[in-house]
């Protein structure tokens, strides 16, 4: 059977790995790496430092009732307005202070006049300072969230045309030049108290 033999030989010459699917494999790998690669985004607590004051210039006066003082020592003990407290009390106390609207004579007159001041010891670990600051931030975030959800401030003043499920949602929907109306209505005044001079060691 010469015909069959010929055919076999011919077939053997043609044997090759099919390469047509290589491009697909490459595509799959490419997509796999695209999906799994995460470029780590920097996250953190955003703050704005107070601008430098001239030597003679005094810091702007703040009424005692508008100032909400938080002191954190090196052991992580917290003094809120002179009373011993704990870190997780800060959040609710901040909300109370900011949303007082002149009701309680010891607390703030209005949200935009309210100032939260955080002061630390020289030896306070950074971790505890961030925790305290975080609690203050979360207090403000809770306030902003409720404004975003209802579209109005706690006094009934209309701030937004529509409502959002959260403040975060509202923020992401903002154009870069657009003003953040919630923060305009309730500014976040956080003061990082200057360390006492001559407080060394």
């Amino acid at each position: 059977m010469p015909g069959l033999l010929d055919k076999r030989r011919e077939g053997r010459d043609d044997v090759e790995i099919p390469t047509a699917s290589m491009a697909d494999i490459a595509f799959l790998l490419l997509i796999f790496f695209l999906v799994t690669t995460t470029i780590n985004v920097d996250t953190g607590i955003g703050m704005t430092l107070p601008p430098k004051l001239d030597q003679e210039q005094q810091p702007p006066p703040v009424k005692e009732r508008n100032l909400f003082k938080i002191l954190v020592n090196s052991q992580g003990d917290v003094l809120i307005e002179g009373e011993l407290a704990s870190l997780n009390q800060i959040r609710d106390r901040v909300k109370e202070q900011v949303l007082n609207y002149g009701e309680n004579p010891d607390l703030s007159e209005s949200p935009d006049k309210s100032v939260v001041s955080i002061k630390t010891d020289a030896q306070t670990p950074y971790r505890i300072y961030v925790q305290a600051l975080d609690e203050v931030m979360m207090g403000y975030r809770d306030i902003y969230d409720s404004v975003a959800r209802s579209g109005q401030t706690q006094t009934g003043e209309r701030v937004l045309e529509q409502t959002y499920p959260s403040y975060q949602e509202y923020r992401t929907g903002l154009e870069p030049e657009e003003e953040d109306k919630i923060r305009e209505a309730i500014p976040r005044n956080i003061s990082i108290a200057e360390p006492d001079l001559g407080d060394e060691g």
């Binding site: 490419l30 996250t43 703050m47 430092l49 430098k52 950074y126 961030v130 925790q131």
Partner: protein
């Protein structure tokens, strides 16, 4: 007839090489570079274990960020001492920070200083750096921290 034989052969063979596998080669190169490329990062001379926090914001524009690292020195004679690192260099004297940061602010007016501070660092040095940042006028800062894990 040698000439006619030659002619016949050349007529049957197609000139040039197959280009079908070129995309594959390109893909392979692409994947090789994707896998082997490491995004440039400054090599840290100080150890910074970031604190964790809840109220986090993301900084989307990476080019606005300039990092200040504060933490204990990893190795060498002064190992364990808290130091400040900006870019690739340790800062010996904190009063040098204002010039460095002022220069950076001229280049990028919307500069955000990312404070990458070790969790156990003392507030004394953080405050010192912050006073320097105020002198330089770089007022937008960000306390870099990680998402709070389950505790």
């Amino acid at each position: 007839m040698p000439s006619s034989h030659f002619q016949k052969r050349s007529a049957n063979t197609e000139p040039g090489f197959t280009t079908a596998s070129l995309p594959d080669i390109v893909f392979m190169l692409l994947i090789f570079f994707m896998v082997s490329t490491v995004l440039r990062e400054t090599d840290l001379k100080v150890q910074t274990q970031l604190p964790s926090a809840e109220a986090l914001t993301k900084i989307d524009q990476k080019r606005l960020i300039s990092a200040v690292h504060i933490g204990p020195i990893k190795q060498g004679e002064k190992k364990g001492q808290t130091a400040v690192q900006i870019d690739d260099a340790l800062i010996e004297n904190t009063s040098a920070i204002r010039n460095i940061m002022y220069g950076k602010l001229q280049e990028q007016p919307k500069l955000i200083v990312s404070m990458k501070v070790d969790r156990e660092s003392q507030m004394k040095i953080v405050n010192e750096v912050q006073q320097e940042l105020r002198e330089a006028g770089t007022l937008r800062i960000n306390y870099s921290s990680t998402r709070e894990g389950p505790r």
